[in-house]
């Protein structure tokens, strides 16, 4: 995956989170958790879009492959707000691999 593909993948998940957020009332406690996770992911995407680094390194590629794998695993599940615990768990899992990727390119962001 390239840097831009990772940025787009994060955007796909953010969009799904937004659909889930907008399916709950603004003061729903679960909604607040989704809001917080959205802020984290938005921050990660912004950092990646600002960062300048070589995205062909093995370290980046390995991290990006993990991002892709988790994305594939959770795809379509985030909007299933009837099982909010699973939704939150999946988002946290995704944020975990994205954070790991950011750490990989740490000096640049």
């Amino acid at each position: 995956m390239t840097r831009l593909e990772v940025i787009q993948t994060i955007g796909d998940v953010i969009t799904e989170i937004d659909v889930a957020r907008a399916s709950l009332l603004p003061d729903d406690p679960n909604r607040h958790q989704l809001d917080d996770l959205r802020v984290l992911l938005d921050d990660r995407q912004r950092k990646l879009s600002q960062a300048v680094f070589d995205d062909s390194t093995p370290a980046f590629q390995q991290s990006a492959a993990k991002v892709k794998a988790v994305d594939t695993e959770i795809q379509g599940s985030i909007q299933q707000i009837n099982d909010i615990a699973a939704v939150l768990g999946n988002i946290n899992k995704f944020i975990g691999v994205v954070t790991s990727l950011i750490t990989t390119i740490g000096p640049f962001v």
Partner: protein
């Protein structure tokens, strides 16, 4: 890296022009006028569309923070607004300037198909050289971390484009075209790609912002709705209208990727180069060439229209 469409157009046109006169002998400049004119016009639309994304890049980040805080509601802090800016004003200005130079380069190629006065072309090439030199200086002064790639790429390729223009000034148009064919394509493609990368990231950030804006509009309605009997029907209607407009915008936005236009420009440029490399172009070669330019023009028109709609909302 793919070249900016305008540059590609120029290079392609030059190739076509030179080869047609060197080898075919029968093709008149007027034969290129229409397809190259389409290429120039379509490139102009693509360039303008790309500029919209770059111009709005910082605004997108600002607004996402501002309206996100308002939606919570939460405190708005000026230092945080400044933190989320992507490019410096200087960085954006340099990119916009680079796009302008690409547009001028395309215009210069178009003039080659129309002008019976080589001196006019030489003068324009000389003027463009001067503006490219100014652009190089402008880019050298960029200091932002996220300007590094653009700065490095532009630093390597602008001199190459300058050399091509110098050939227009000093040599016969045919020789200049040959030089452009030999040396111009690489630098131009790399410059296009550098801008394309920034535009693609800008699109993704804008997508994230628009996605967040959808939620803010829904929340606005739902907060009023939660007042139950106390809800103001007029407000509910107004908020519902706002959701409707926001959803229209979202739908249009998803189809308005600036890189669609840039990719189409690359294909059109490839078609130009291919045509130019054909020693004796026949009527089918001309037809394929014209078809490729039509295809590019159609894509550019679609992207331009969608972006026009978005900026009007």
């Amino acid at each position: 890296m793919p070249l900016p469409k305008p540059l590609r157009n120029r290079v392609s046109f030059l190739v076509v022009f030179v080869l047609a006169f060197d080898f075919a002998g029968c093709a008149k400049p007027s034969a290129y006028k229409s397809p190259v004119g389409k290429f120039r016009d379509a490139a102009s639309v693509v360039i303008q569309s790309t500029k919209v994304y770059l111009l709005e890049l910082n605004k997108v980040e600002r607004d996402q923070y501002i309206y996100g805080q308002a939606g919570k509601p939460g405190q708005i802090q000026l230092n945080h607004i400044e933190e989320v800016q992507v490019f410096s004003k200087e960085g954006i200005a340099a990119r916009l300037n680079a796009l302008d130079q690409l547009a001028d380069y395309t215009e210069l190629l178009y003039e080659l198909t129309n002008s019976s006065a080589p001196e006019t072309v030489k003068t324009r090439a000389s003027d463009l050289q001067t503006t490219l030199t100014n652009l190089s200086d402008q880019i050298k002064n960029l200091t932002g971390e996220n300007d590094k790639v653009f700065k490095s790429t532009a630093g390597k390729i602008l001199p190459g484009i300058g050399d091509v223009l110098q050939a227009f000034v000093e040599q016969s148009l045919e020789n200049a075209l040959k030089k452009a064919i030999k040396k111009g394509e690489g630098p131009v493609n790399e410059l296009i790609e550098a801008i394309e990368s920034d535009a693609a990231a800008a699109y993704q950030r804008k997508r994230t912002a628009y996605s967040g804006a959808r939620v803010i509009l829904i929340d606005q309605y739902n907060r009023e709705f939660e007042k139950a009997d106390g809800a103001d029907p007029a407000k509910l209607k107004a908020y519902a209208d706002a959701i409707s407009v926001g959803e229209d915008r979202w739908e249009a936005f998803l189809s308005a990727q600036p890189n669609d236009g840039l990719e189409a420009m690359k294909k059109a440029n490839t078609a130009l180069v291919k045509f130019a490399k054909t020693p004796k172009p026949n009527i089918n070669d001309f037809a394929s060439f014209a078809e490729a330019m039509d295809s590019f023009a159609n894509t550019a028109s679609r992207v331009g229209k969608l972006i026009q709609e978005l900026t009007a909302k």
